[in-house]
């Protein structure tokens, strides 16, 4: 589809690429990218090092265990502006009257946010490099953990961006996304599951949520080095769902 370029109209993939490039540029123009990346690198590396000196083992499990809670705060900060800012400054009218499909705009923004998240992850690479220098860590385990983290971040970016479009306000979008993120993470905590199960024992809400909703069992399987189809499907379905909802919402908001 992208091979044949008609006049005044970019191909589908090319359109996504152009939107993504602009969006990523906007992160750097407004220095958000630098501030967030530096903050993430300092936080992630220092917390890991603390753990590393305590346990003294050459693996990254401590790092990956820490990430979901850190993402609950970092990802909403990345996604909150994506649609809320366009709405506040009214540039959304400019963007969505260009000859692109709404899905191209959504995908472009998503990929830009994913790119910034990717930069965060690159900032954590000193950890595996250090481990490689100090000993012989299980590389498969580390790679599988990174894949899990990328999927977890990708899913958080998906609902973060959707909530930015729904709320139209950056602060509200941040708070909502953080709450949803917490729900996805906390529903995987043993204590939370136990408390929820205790509320109405017959329904065992906690277990139902843990098994069907929580991100933690899926993410943990990657961290443990198991890449199974069920977990992969979970992430892909949720990411697809949020992107689809985002397109539907924007189409409906044109009134």
């Amino acid at each position: 589809m992208s091979a044949t370029v008609a006049t005044h109209h970019a191909g589908y993939v090319e359109g996504i690429r152009i939107i993504a490039a602009r969006e990523l540029g906007a992160y750097f123009d407004s220095s958000i990218a630098y501030v967030y990346t530096i903050a993430f690198v300092i936080l992630a590396n220092s917390i890991f090092m603390n753990e590393f000196f305590l346990t003294g083992t050459v693996d990254m499990t401590a790092f990956f265990d820490l990430m979901p809670l850190l993402m609950v705060l970092f990802i909403p900060a990345v996604t909150m502006r994506l649609w809320a800012e366009e709405k506040k400054t009214r540039t959304i009218e400019l963007l969505l009257t260009l000859p692109i499909r709404t899905s191209q705009a959504v995908m472009g923004k998503y990929i830009a946010a994913l790119g910034l998240f990717g930069l965060f992850l690159v900032g954590s690479l000193p950890i595996p490099i250090m481990l490689l220098v100090l000993g012989s860590p299980d590389l498969g385990l580390i790679i599988s953990g990174y894949i899990g983290l990328l999927l977890l971040g990708g899913m958080f970016l998906g609902f973060g961006m959707f909530l930015s479009a729904i709320s139209g306000d950056q602060i509200v979008a941040f708070v909502l996304s953080a709450i949803v993120g917490f729900a996805f993470v906390l529903s995987g905590q043993e204590q939370v599951v136990a408390v929820l199960d205790g509320l109405i024992p017959a329904l065992s809400i906690g277990t139902v949520l843990y098994e069907n909703f929580s991100v933690m069992p899926r993410y943990d399987s990657f961290v443990r080095g198991v890449i199974d189809i069920g977990s992969l499907t979970y992430f892909v379905l949720f990411i697809g769902l949020f992107l689809w909802l985002n397109v539907q919402l924007l189409e409906r908001q044109r009134t």
Partner: protein, 276 residues
């Protein structure tokens, strides 16, 4: 003031005005580029546009005149594909805005109300982005960019961020971005807003230069603005199209009643106001 020839009857009657073919002197052989039929837009209980119909042909510059909140922007937003009309249809260059929005957008240059742009982007990068997203590239994009930059006199601000530019520059950046792809249909919502008199004069010359082979519709709430640039004008208030007339016709009405042109327009607006 205009080079207009031969118009006959004044059209102060809104019902007739909306239905009649444009009387803009011998351009009826040109294809219809904007065809609005009974465009209605309802926001809750408010009728922002009420069965607005008109045709604009290639080679026409039409002024869309009305007080603030008359429904000008609403109608322009439906033509631009931004807002779907509650009922009625709009076709741009033969493409329906709802059924074929991409085809419409490719042919359309649109300067929205408030001229919102990506504030933190550099002017040159913003123009490149607007060109690329429209499928332009390489030499063609460079050539077109140089042309709009020259025409809109943007050389001095190309390396600046948009939020560092003055109001006059911003308006011209928006205009440049909307004309980059050489659109057949140009929609400008309050294009002279924030320009000084010299810039307004330059804008008029520029728009007249664009006229051949294009259909241009621009909105304003200032009669002098519209008269200086267009022959034909659409007068709208409270969502209703009150007149589809020419400056010459309006002048004839004004002379006949011995009132000024402004008063003639106000009379049309007031009449329309009573009916709603």
């Amino acid at each position: 003031m205009t080079d207009h020839q031969g118009a006959t009857t004044a059209t102060a009657d809104p019902k007739r005005a909306a239905k009649e073919a444009p009387k803009d002197s011998g351009r009826t052989d040109q294809p219809v580029m904007i065809d609005a039929k009974d465009v209605t837009k309802r926001y809750g209980s408010t009728l922002a546009a009420d069965r607005v119909s008109f045709e604009i042909r290639r080679g026409e510059i039409v002024g869309f005149l009305g007080p603030n909140g008359a429904g000008k922007s609403t109608v322009l937003k439906t033509i631009s594909t931004w807002l779907p009309p509650t009922s009625g249809t709009v076709e741009v260059a033969g493409f329906d805005v709802q059924k074929d929005p991409l085809a419409v957008r490719q042919r359309l240059g649109y300067l929205p109300e408030h001229n919102a742009m990506y504030e933190t982007m550099r002017v040159d990068r913003f123009l490149r982005f607007m060109g690329k997203v429209r499928g332009m590239s390489g030499e063609h994009l460079t050539k077109r960019t140089n042309w709009v930059v020259g025409k809109c006199q943007l050389e001095a601000v190309l390396g600046k961020r948009i939020n560092q530019c003055s109001k006059g520059y911003r308006q011209r950046i928006g205009l440049a971005a909307s004309l980059l792809h050489d659109p057949q249909v140009i929609l400008l919502d309050e294009p002279t807003h924030g320009l000084d008199p010299l810039q307004v004069a330059a804008f008029r010359d520029f728009i007249r230069e664009l006229r051949p082979n294009r259909a241009i519709l621009f909105s304003s709430h200032i009669l002098a603005e519209v008269m200086a640039t267009c022959e034909r004008l659409l007068i709208i208030n409270l969502g209703k199209l009150l007149a589809d007339t020419t400056v010459t016709e309006l002048r004839a009405v004004a002379d006949e009643k011995n009132i000024s042109l402004e008063e003639a327009v106000l009379e049309i607006v007031r009449k329309g106001g009573k009916r709603t």
